[in-house]
């Protein structure tokens, strides 16, 4: 049963992504509102994949990626960045610090479901 951690400060986007992720058979979705909340959730339940926004209060998505990659227990968890920042340099920056994929908003939910399934299969 894959555990999917959705890290997003916008309730609308969080609900939309979670809604799409629940369509992956047997998946369990955990929601977090920012990077700190995500780390808290991770310590109690290890996720199989993380979907994170970049612009969030308290701790942004990029900081979360670097902290996850620096942790021996979580460093292999695939991370997909979902953001309004569509510029190539933003994508490169996120990929350089360890994101596995980068999707600019507005998202195509089917594309996201396919990508998550692909990352989970690879794992």
């Amino acid at each position: 049963m894959p555990i999917i951690l959705v890290v997003e400060d916008s309730p609308t986007m969080r609900q939309l992504i979670s809604f799409a992720m629940r369509r992956i058979p047997g998946s369990k979705v955990i929601e977090a509102t920012d990077g700190v909340d995500a780390l808290k959730k991770l310590s109690s339940e290890k996720a199989d994949i993380i979907l994170a926004d970049i612009n969030m209060p308290v701790m942004d998505g990029l900081k979360l990626v670097s902290l996850v990659r620096g942790n021996s227990e979580f460093r292999n968890i695939p991370i997909i960045i979902i953001t309004t920042e569509g510029a190539e340099e933003d994508r490169k920056k996120a990929m350089a610090i360890g994101a596995n994929a980068y999707i600019p908003k507005p998202i195509q939910t089917q594309e996201l479901v396919n990508l998550v399934t692909q990352q989970l299969d690879r794992k």
């Binding site: 609308t12 309004t84 908003k105």
Partner: protein
């Protein structure tokens, strides 16, 4: 000597019989040869008949198998076409599902609260995250001033957008006709004039326009409008208007209720003195 002719005669008779026997045997052998030949002929004919029958049987069988293959190929073609149709339908249904999910989430969020500030935040979230707008303004009609009062915006200084006169171009048309406006310019065009948005959506309660959402630019990654964008614009036109209006009304009535309550408290205190 008398006996000699008798012996000779008998010998002659014997010779005659022997010759006849020889003749008979030769005929017998000939007949035997002919019959053997005939048997061989008949056997060959029989074999040929059998082979012909067998060949015919095989040919029939081959024909039957060919028909069967053709029928199977036809069935395969039909199933393949059906499969293609199903997969196309599946893609359409999936797209519809995703669109409906977007609609569901957007309308669910819009009506999840009566807090005016929260409603505005949700409207902004929908416009940014689900539609992909970069610069936009949500404005309500101020009938006294005959202006559009910006109540929320993104990427625009609120002061710059303040007090857009209704009687100016695109926005006026949208307010008057209650129909959404989509510019013919490419989606990447950025409008600097507050009165000339790229997209303008009326906020309507039934047929009554209470304001507009004016979009001046979209995120760079937005390449064009999809079906779900138009659905979201429609949804915002109706649901955002109701949500904003009702939350505003609720906030006002709450304020008034508190004022009345405080007034009554004051009256009570005064009457006891």
């Amino acid at each position: 000597m008398d006996k000699e002719p008798g012996i000779l005669k008998k010998a002659d008779e014997f010779l005659q019989i022997f010759k006849k026997g020889e003749e008979f045997t030769r005929n017998l052998l000939k007949e035997n040869e002919r019959l053997r030949f005939r048997i061989a002929e008949l056997e060959e004919a029989h074999t040929q008949d059998f082979n012909t029958a067998k060949t015919k049987h095989y040919e029939d069988h081959i024909r039957m198998l060919k028909d069967e293959i053709e029928a199977l190929q036809e069935r395969f073609r039909r199933v393949e076409t059906e499969n293609r149709d199903f997969s196309q339908k599946y893609v359409i249904v999936e797209e519809e599902n995703n669109n409906l999910a977007n609609m569901y989430v957007a309308s669910y969020q819009l009506h999840s609260t009566l807090d005016y500030e929260e409603v505005l935040k949700i409207v902004l979230e929908i416009i940014i995250n689900l539609i992909g707008a970069k610069k936009f303004s949500v404005m309500l009609i101020d009938k006294k001033l005959e202006e559009l009062e910006p109540i929320a915006s993104e990427g625009i200084d609120m002061d710059n957008g303040a007090g857009i006169s209704i009687g100016r171009g695109v926005i006026e048309k949208v307010v008057m006709e209650g129909e959404s406006y989509f510019s013919d310019d490419p989606v990447h065009t950025e409008s600097e004039d507050p009165a000339k948005p790229i997209v303008c959506i009326p906020l309507k309660i039934k047929e009554h326009v209470i304001g507009v959402i004016a979009i001046y630019s979209f995120l760079n990654q937005k390449t064009g409008f999809t079906n779900v964008d138009y659905e979201l614009f429609n949804l915002l036109a109706g649901h955002a208007a109701t949500a904003i209006f009702s939350s505003r009304l609720y906030a006002r009535s709450k304020r008034e209720f508190t004022t009345i309550q405080n007034f009554l408290e004051l009256m009570k205190v005064k009457s006891t003195q």
